[in-house]
Point group: C2
DNA sequence: CTGTTAGCGCTTTCAA
DNA sequence: TTGAAAGCGCTAACAG
């Protein structure tokens, strides 16, 4: 099972390996006839270049790592595809790692990506991540890291986020303007910046419309569906239950919808519901789920563009860390209206 | 931005790089004190081993490539996660490629994975793939390739499939037993083996129950939702429209459901619908979609196990190509019953 | 246009 | 227990 190398080709053709290398890499300084002979034999031997050797030598792999906490929901796969398209145009390959929301796995993956010398990193971290040392390993060595969705706060790295605050604000505004007063919020862990931004949007909308904030209607939880189920039931069991729910994301909102239905209540009459991200499922269920849409593919594209900017920047002319904020858009469906 | 190497450590400690290498790789023949000194300095310098160099030398990357045609639907991500879990246990990393159903992309990805010397491959090919030479590059060099879902036919490679035939048979049997006689089938391209198996299950079920086969009710298409929409409308416009539809997959079935509803018809009264794969969405929509469930994670785990068997087999004791067939299970919901 | 040489970072004999 | 040397497959000066 010996894999042919340029030395095999060189020997069989009575050439030096440099010439073979040149012929194979479309180097100008090679006799056209020589190149033909090399190409032919390479084809015949089914020669496949060894990228490991090249990367070791050139000190670049032309590979980018993408780290996400999960990729079962539509969001992360779509971001990845968006990023991959941009990266592919520039000749970069992509290695995808999903941590399954586990900090330990994230650290291991980061180490492994570093060991295989990726040229850059695009990251949305786990909900457990509080220590970012495994990413500092990269930045300290000048390997660019771009965050999206869940971003490394107070750090000089490029980031792509959406306007979570305004998205949340508009969602709650919509609920108020359609007559709701007791609006609950199922929020994510406050380690996640986007979770906090959405909470702030919620609070400010209430404030702006003089709707009193009831702390018992604001619950922060760990984003598991089991907990969502428990908390929605808890809210509905309250002596004064909410008349609306703004959920941190669509899976939570859909879980809420199931709970409401299973209790024989109606959406939106008994509880209006708004989600976040506009998962395609939202349009398929009944009633349709009102949701704050994010430009998902664009997030990936933007992250890739920022990374490429850093990748192509020269050492003496480094690209400055940039934060790109993309707009959200409220999509109104049956879960909040008629 | 110089990355420290074992030579840096060796120099600073007045050792040879061999000793440093031994200390770092937990080799037994190193003085414990020496090891401590090395480990300490490595930590201080933030030394990270260069996997490229190791792979080049050892001729193994401990990396496995997984190639899928898409990963927006729940199926492929879940297979990947299942495979990844198994592979991680054995100390293998995973590189994920999605071809976006493009043959050209698949070929490019395969070349790139080969160039970076993955130790093995797990593949579900695109619907366009008819030429498998890019996979033969691997098998010919003794690099194991395991197919799943969409498999390389008539080839001595390991495969993981589900019992598509029986799944389809039971779906159609269920439709017949609940009183349907004009059962349409939206089938996939006949380049895909599983598509043909499902078609055969459909045909045999009709035959077994003496339901005449009407060729105008069997439509093979390219799996795009736009076409699905057109063909469902076409079927409903027939002078004698079908009273049931067996769809090749859940997205198609859900598209059909939307079409039926948009025409003011009812499911299942006017058209009963069955899908394939039991996408989680199927339980969320109304009516719930009857579907043939596959053991998705197990497909990935099984594929990983087969690959590992090949990976750990010695050259003189190679693992034999094996085909694993996993069972399907009909999940009945509102789209075919009350 | 082609060959020679050095070396990317690491592991692994073979000697000491 | 440690060091010296060879070499994985390749590219890139430098000479010729």
């Amino acid at each position: 099972m010996h894999q042919p190398t340029i030395i095999d080709i060189a020997r069989q053709l009575g050439l030096s390996k440099s010439t073979v290398s040149r012929a194979l890499t479309a180097h100008p300084n090679v006799n056209e006839k020589t190149r033909q002979r090399v190409l032919e034999l390479a084809d015949k031997l089914d020669y496949q270049r060894n990228q490991l050797a090249i990367s070791l030598l050139t000190n670049q792999t032309r590979t980018v790592g993408i780290m996400v906490p999960e990729f079962i929901s539509f969001f992360f796969p779509k971001v990845i595809i968006g990023a991959q398209e941009e990266l592919a145009k520039a000749g970069y390959n992509v290695v995808i790692c999903h941590s399954n929301e586990s900090y330990a796995t994230e650290v291991t993956s980061a180490k492994s990506l570093f060991a295989s010398r990726v040229d850059g990193l695009i990251v949305s971290h786990t909900k457990e991540t509080r220590n970012f040392d495994h990413f500092r390993t990269f930045t300290r060595k000048g390997i660019p890291v771009v965050f999206f969705n869940r971003v490394w706060e107070n750090e000089e790295v490029s980031k792509v986020v959406v306007d979570d605050y305004t998205g949340a604000y508009q969602a709650v505004e919509h609920l108020i303007q359609t007559g709701r007063r007791r609006i609950a919020h199922l929020s994510g862990p406050d380690t996640l910046p986007n979770s906090r931004s959405r909470l702030n949007g919620y609070l400010d909308a209430l404030k702006h419309y003089d709707v009193p904030v009831d702390p018992s209607l604001v619950i922060s939880y760990d984003l598991t569906l089991e907990k969502a189920n428990i908390y929605v039931n808890h809210l509905l069991n309250l002596p004064e239950p909410p008349d609306a729910l703004f959920a941190i994301n669509d899976p939570t909102a859909i879980e809420a919808l199931k709970v409401v239905k299973s209790r024989g209540l109606r959406v939106p009459d008994d509880l209006a519901i708004v989600g976040f991200s506009d998962d395609p499922i939202s349009a398929l269920i009944e009633p349709g789920l009102t949701s704050v849409a994010q430009p998902v593919s664009e997030i990936g594209q933007e992250a890739a563009r920022l990374l490429l900017a850093h990748l192509t920047a020269s050492a003496d002319q480094p690209a400055a860390p940039t934060t790109v904020t993309l707009p959200t858009r409220l999509v109104v469906r049956g879960s909040t209206g008629s």
